[in-house]
């Protein structure tokens, strides 16, 4: 009897699985999402998006040219970060800044060299376009670098030993070259997985309601649990497939080191994938309408994963109540795990604490989904 029961159950589940598989295969759009999206996004983030500024267009306004101003211009010319252009008056340079031809101005007044040689204060005035404040900060850092090396050179040439009081020595762990690709690529994998998980499943139950096939499913002996499992399993396989593609691209194409264990990453990803899929499923069950489901899934997945996960913006710097909200974003935990597994290695405190948070989410989601999904018509 029990044998019969389980075999009937597994037959029903297999039937449901087959139906879902066929739906996925017949409508290639979800396969496209699962396999094209990661590739497109990874290439965009790997090649397209970068926070590393090079060849910053900077205007050098020299009101009276001589050997000293020339040596400063040369320092900018030699720096890989700048692409200087020259102006004879500050007005010309300011016009170029307004027209967005240059991002900053280094302004040497006509009395600069004279004051410098007389031992008086000779300031260099810097004007930066502050609209992109992050970029402005980075530009300022580079200008300071050029300025200090020029100062040392200039003093040494005149036989003055220039001793800076405190010298900073920078040591960046895990990413010593400060290559932004190394953190953007693992971060974007988390964003991809969030979107794929929620978006794929957000439509699947809403679609059945809207088309009226939900009633047809309800009159079958299929239990709610079997139906949901039948909906989740194919998308889980699809989602994990795109995860493997993403990791392979990250490691072999973009050269992101994988310092942690591959199997730990597989486990962490499966856990996260389940959470994402269940969020999509919950949205789908509640919405019962594809328009609402689509809007909710996008509102709940893409932008939160992009902005609140700590992938781009540092969570510690957010106001306290926003930090509170980030605890509700599953991508937050996965970003921390991925960046650690790729760049730092198996740091167990980070991996386990975040996995625990995801497990709690999974548990709550299972409860919510099973309480919301009953075989009843409204």
């Amino acid at each position: 009897m029990t044998v019969n029961k389980t075999s009937a159950r597994s037959r029903r589940l297999m039937g449901m699985l087959r139906k879902e598989m066929w739906q996925i295969i017949r409508d290639p759009s979800s396969i496209a999402i699962a396999f094209v999206m990661p590739v497109v996004l990874l290439f965009m983030f790997g090649y397209g998006v970068s926070l590393d500024a090079k060849n910053i267009p900077v205007g050098i306004a020299v009101e009276k040219a001589d050997i000293i101003t020339q040596s400063l211009s040369d320092s900018f010319e030699q720096s890989e970060f700048f692409k200087p252009s020259y102006y004879h008056s500050i007005q010309q340079a300011q016009l170029a800044l307004e027209e967005r031809k240059i991002d900053g101005i280094v302004w040497l007044r006509s009395n600069f060299s004279q004051n410098l040689q007389a031992g008086k204060q000779a300031p260099i005035e810097i004007i930066i376009n502050g609209v992109d404040s992050n970029q402005a900060n980075i530009t300022m850092g580079y200008i300071q670098g050029v300025w200090q090396s020029w100062l040392t050179l200039f003093s040494n040439a005149r036989g003055i030993q220039l001793n800076l009081p405190v010298v900073l020595e920078q040591r960046v762990w895990f990413n010593s070259a400060l290559n932004s690709r190394l953190f953007l690529v693992p971060g974007v994998i988390a964003v991809i997985m969030t979107m794929i998980g929620s978006l794929l499943t957000a439509m699947v139950v809403a679609r059945e309601w809207e088309r009226g096939t939900m009633e047809a499913l309800m009159v079958t002996p299929l239990s709610m649990k079997e139906m949901l499992a039948g909906k989740l399993i194919p998308y889980f396989i699809l989602g994990m497939g795109s995860m493997f593609i993403s990791v392979a691209l990250a490691v072999w194409w973009f050269g992101v080191p994988l310092r942690g264990s591959f199997w730990v990453m597989v486990l962490a990803s499966s856990l996260f994938m389940m959470v994402s899929l269940l969020i999509g499923l919950l949205i789908s069950i509640i919405s019962k309408n594809q328009f609402v489901a689509g809007q909710t899934a996008i509102a709940a997945s893409f932008l939160p994963a992009f902005l609140l996960s700590g992938f781009l913006f540092d969570i510690n710097s957010m106001p306290a109540f926003i930090q509170g909200i980030t605890y509700l974003i599953p991508a937050r935990y996965f970003v921390a795990q991925l960046q650690t597994l790729f760049l730092a290695g198996n740091v167990w405190p980070v991996i386990l604490s975040n996995a625990f948070a995801l497990l709690v989410m999974l548990f709550v989601l299972v409860l919510l989904v099973s309480s919301k999904s009953r075989k009843t018509l409204e």
Binding site: D103, N134, N163, L168, S287, G294, F313, I322
Partner: protein, 375 residues
């Protein structure tokens, strides 16, 4: 004349029907209004590159007075929060590995002695590079704090060498608040999501229900159908943007320095382009699922390649060329131009016409697809 009024009343009737289809359902009404408003509030506060209360640790191997002076700068700073003073080398790694601190300042032994003897003293900054942008921003903060310290020290202890200091001014955004830069990008992304889904589902929904064929055999021609389908997206977009703009100006206190008329003209062209793209996706899709996924395949690259969070100038040339097809790129420049730089129509002219072209081409293509994609 008779024909003319009929022409427009037919368009009006279709547009009305589209609005009813959207607003009939309570959940659809809510989903159009609340998530964007909620998101601008949350993301507006969250999205900033500026560092605040970053946890750090200090490893002071020096016993002297000067190192305490050096550290006191960090105690008074709002950017950094010292959460631990460590005593030995082996404490550094766990703190950084476990993400307890972003960085450790390692002050060398004899730091005070060296400085007092007029020599250079060394401070090592060990940073967690897992987010290299945050690491670099933190390093920049520390470098400028160090610059202040050095200048003060040199002034007090008789400096030698050339007196060349940097005097910095930042135009348009004097305090370098990254929120001013990012909020316009959030506005554009939120509006894009709403408009694209409204328009992308409008034709796909009718195809799925089978009512699109009926629409095609009515006396309306494809141009009328196109206009009728485009109106809801543009109207909803204008209203929703106005709401979000009010929040940005009143709540986040970002002043509008330039010409509001130029901003709205740009907004209209942007909505035209977004609606056109949405209708093309809709006309290609056979089901609503395809339409949502299609909208998504457009939204994500469009947002990422708009210059919203990362500058277009840092992208490789080939990708930069691609961004010229992206209406978000132009509208973002207009928004930032009007908000921060005080621009008007003349400086922004080169941003207007590409969006108009994208809009007209996409709308024409969508109209063509209405007739030619039939199953």
């Amino acid at each position: 004349m008779q024909v003319n009024t009929q022409y427009f009343s037919q368009i009006f009737a279709l547009a009305l029907k589209e609005f009813l289809a959207l607003f009939r359902d309570k959940r659809s009404r809510l989903i159009l209004v609340f998530p964007p408003l909620l998101q601008i509030l949350i993301f507006g506060f969250a999205a900033t590159y500026d560092l605040d209360n970053v946890p750090i640790a200090i490893y002071n191997q020096d016993q002297g007075q000067v190192s305490r002076e050096f550290i006191s700068q960090f105690e008074g700073s709002e950017t950094f929060e010292i959460i631990e003073y460590i005593k030995k080398d082996s404490d550094i790694a766990p703190l950084i590995d476990n993400k307890d601190v972003l960085l450790v300042l390692n002050i060398e032994p004899q730091f005070s002695d060296k400085l007092q003897q007029g020599k250079s003293a060394k401070v090592q900054v060990i940073l967690d590079g897992r987010n290299s942008n945050t690491a670099m921003t933190a390093m920049n903060y520390i470098a400028s704090m160090n610059l202040d310290f050095n200048q003060k020290w040199s002034a007090q202890h008789g400096a030698t060498g050339p007196k060349v200091a940097l005097q910095v001014r930042n135009w348009y955004n004097e305090n370098l608040q990254s929120r001013w830069f990012i909020l316009p990008g959030i506005l554009v992304s939120l509006i894009l999501v709403v408009i694209l889904l409204v328009t992308a589902l409008s034709v796909a929904r009718e195809r799925e229900a089978g009512t699109f064929d009926q629409l095609l055999v009515t006396p309306m021609n494809p141009t009328q159908i196109l206009i009728g389908k485009a109106i809801p997206g543009i109207v909803i977009g204008l209203l929703e943007s106005t709401l979000i703009l009010i929040i940005i100006v009143k709540l986040f206190q970002i002043p509008i320095q330039g010409d509001i008329a130029a901003l709205y003209f740009g907004l209209f062209l942007f909505l035209l382009a977004a609606t056109g793209i949405g209708l093309v996706i809709s006309a290609i899709s056979l089901t609503q699922q395809q339409a949502v996924l299609g909208a998504f395949l457009f939204i994500v690259p469009a947002v990422v390649l708009s210059g919203f969070t990362t500058p277009i100038a840092n992208m490789p040339d080939s990708v930069q060329l691609l961004t010229y097809l992206n209406p978000l790129r132009y509208f973002l420049i207009i928004l930032r131009g009007v908000f921060l730089e005080g621009n008007g129509f003349t400086l922004l002219f080169s941003q207007f016409w590409p969006m108009a072209i994208i809009g007209v081409v996409c709308l024409a293509f969508a109209g063509w697809l209405f007739r030619h994609r039939m199953y």
